[in-house]
């Protein structure tokens, strides 16, 4: 197992985490819990497959996966708006609505899978980005624009949060919405926009999953949204640290894959690493893990 192979596998596993975590940071920093990342990803994965399939069937060739990506962004945005409307406009409890949105995403994707593709588990094969026979190394990775998007998204979100007025507003409404409102920040609008962005970016993570497989599978996100949420917390709500946490979790997963079969140490232990690390981070053993002050609170503004 060469180091290069290890790195490329880690990156492949990390891309959906990176995208979901980048989106989730925006939502969390604006004060809305990113519990729904799993749902956005699943919705995005399905929309990507459906969009790519439809475009492929219409003979659009190489453009087809891009239409899938567009559909995933829209799908993620739609689910996130549902969440935002319930949590902001109707002041519902974010945890409860968040769980509901995740369940809804499971149900909706299954419903449309049945409706469009007459199957309860899989879509047919859809066009994707990769080139046949490109192997397993970095060459095949470089062919996939979603990998590039995934890598660039983390610094992009960091720049947005810390270097732009909009980012400042996001942070302000997440820390102290009343103070932000008192200086004229449109709290509700900023929150809606942050959540919409989080849905779109997490939807991209779903698109990576289904386009990489060339097919949508029921429940194919398999908890990746929650791992991304753990990465956000582990990264203490800083997009760059969260991105690093994603890479760490992904490398633990790679290690687990590589160690399985060899009898060196039980691979279950390696599989536990991300979760143990998150618990340690949350318990405050590595510095103080402080969430945005207004996270999860409904604002009356």
């Amino acid at each position: 197992m060469s180091a290069l192979n290890f790195l490329s596998q880690t990156l492949r596993i990390a891309v959906p985490y990176l995208l979901a975590a980048a989106g989730g940071v925006l939502s969390e920093r604006a004060g809305l819990i990113g519990l729904t990342l799993e749902g956005y990803m699943l919705g995005g994965a399905f929309c990507a497959a459906a969009g790519s399939y439809a475009a492929g069937a219409a003979g659009m060739g190489a453009v087809a996966p891009w239409l899938g990506v567009l559909a995933a962004v829209l799908g993620g945005a739609a689910l996130s708006m549902l969440y935002a409307a319930s949590a902001i406009r109707f002041k519902a409890d974010q945890i409860v609505v968040g769980i509901a949105v995740n369940l809804l995403a499971v149900g909706l994707t299954r419903f449309f899978l049945r409706l469009f593709f007459d199957s309860s588990s899989n879509s047919p094969r859809v066009p994707g980005f990769d080139v046949k026979g490109s192997g397993t190394g970095f060459v095949s990775l470089a062919h996939n624009p979603l990998v590039w998007i995934g890598v660039i998204m983390t610094p992009l979100v960091a720049w947005l949060l810390y270097r732009t007025p909009f980012g400042l507003r996001i942070r302000a409404v997440g820390e102290h919405p009343a103070a932000a409102a008192s200086v004229g920040v449109p709290v509700v609008k900023v929150r809606y926009m942050a959540v919409a962005l989080s849905g779109m970016i997490a939807g991209l993570g779903g698109a990576y999953l289904s386009l990489d497989q060339h097919q949508f599978t029921d429940g194919m996100t398999a908890g990746r949204g929650f791992i991304a949420l753990a990465a956000i917390i582990f990264g203490r709500w800083n997009p760059l640290l969260a991105g690093l946490a994603c890479l760490l979790f992904a490398s633990a997963e790679t290690l687990q894959i590589q160690l399985q079969g060899t009898q060196m140490i039980p691979s279950q232990f390696v599989e536990m690493i991300p979760y143990v690390l998150t618990i340690i981070a949350l318990a405050g053993l590595v510095g103080r893990a402080s969430a945005p002050a207004a996270l999860g609170k409904t604002t009356t503004e």
Partner: protein, 345 residues
């Protein structure tokens, strides 16, 4: 507060209304001598191109050839599996089938509660008591079991014979005894024709989720192919779709499971270890129709054509005649009992 009450009230009303319309056809009680069949599918459901579809095919054949009336229930997430079985049993079906090991406990319970209804469980997991004796299922419950290890043995031998490498691969779904049967049989098959071959075997996880995580399946397969494996056998449900994807990407070979999975990646599927779920389901319904249904354990192995490997126009180019002859010889040995394939780790 009033709004909330009205909202909840409306929801309740809708639920009750749905309850009245939901079980379509339940209003007319089952009559005549047509066999009424109820089937509850496992996770994955219809269209899984695997054993759920196999059960569906068997039931469809029973509809056509035996005039059976079949009702399907596809449970969603979680615990409504038992409810599905119970609904069908309560409606007076002649036979209720649960597709998947997951129904084992529910079927055992319901068979006791409804002694006049026949039950059958595909992949039913027969338990053992403290002394290691097999616990027989109730008299009205048929456990339809397959000797997956025998079919896996043959595809293992095939993988070693055509793999052109001292390493062959196995990707399992959930790490538990039912899948160990595939793994153990496969390894035995590999060792039978190539004693110094190494089998890399990996699992996608330890929960049922591990059966529908194609992303993980693809990564497991890619890492095995990188380590010099040329053929991978998967027993992992939808997770295996990722294995086929990896085979396509690297130009190597994969072996399907349960049903003929050639169409998942034409040209990259060496063969599939098929389980005759359709025949088992059809037979169970037929026995009910002919009023000779008996509970107990039914084993479908190579001798009963309950398991096997695919050899047809699609893949004959990948399997040389000498290899084919060797496999058929091994198959005869197993049927004759001269080779005993292990089924547990």
């Amino acid at each position: 507060m009033r709004k909330l009450l009205i909202f909840v009230g409306v929801l309740l009303a809708v639920h009750i209304a749905l309850l009245l319309v939901h079980p379509s056809g339940a209003a007319e009680p089952p009559t005549g001598d047509a066999v009424d069949v109820g089937i509850v599918f496992d996770m994955g459901g219809r269209g899984d191109k695997s054993f759920n579809d196999g059960a569906y095919l068997g039931a469809e054949r029973a509809e056509k050839e035996l005039g059976a009336r079949v009702r399907f229930i596809e449970p969603g997430e979680g615990s409504d599996r038992e409810a599905g079985l119970r609904l069908l049993a309560a409606e007076g079906m002649d036979i209720v089938l649960g597709v998947g090991f997951i129904f084992t406990d529910d079927l055992t319970q319901l068979a006791k509660e409804y002694p006049n209804t026949d039950f059958a469980g595909v992949d039913f997991s027969v338990g053992q008591d403290k002394n290691g004796r097999i616990i027989q299922p109730p008299a009205n419950l048929a456990a339809l079991k397959f000797r997956e290890e025998q079919g896996s043995f043959l595809v293992g031998a095939l993988a070693a014979l055509v793999g052109n490498s001292k390493k062959v691969g196995f990707v399992g779904g959930m790490n538990f005894p039912l899948i160990h049967k595939f793994e153990v049989g496969y390894i035995a098959g590999v060792k039978a024709v190539c004693p110094d071959c190494e089998v890399l075997s990996q699992y996608a996880g330890v929960t049922p989720e591990a059966f529908r995580n194609p992303g993980k399946g693809k990564e497991l397969a890619l890492s095995q192919y990188q380590q010099g494996v040329n053929v991978i056998f998967h027993a992992s449900g939808s997770t295996g779709l990722g294995v086929f994807e990896a085979a396509r990407q690297t130009g190597k070979l994969a072996i399907g499971v349960d049903a003929d999975q050639f169409n998942e990646a034409p040209g990259y599927v060496l063969t599939s270890m098929v389980k005759g779920v359709d025949n088992a389901v059809y037979d169970a319904i037929k026995r009910v129709k002919e009023k000779r249904f008996k509970g107990g354990i039914y084993q479908y192995g190579l001798a009963e054509d309950g398991v096997g490997y695919v050899y047809d126009r699609n893949n004959e180019k990948l399997i040389p005649p000498a290899v084919r002859a060797r496999l058929e010889a091994l198959k005869r040995e197993i049927i004759a009992g001269r080779i005993v394939v292990p089924s547990t780790k």
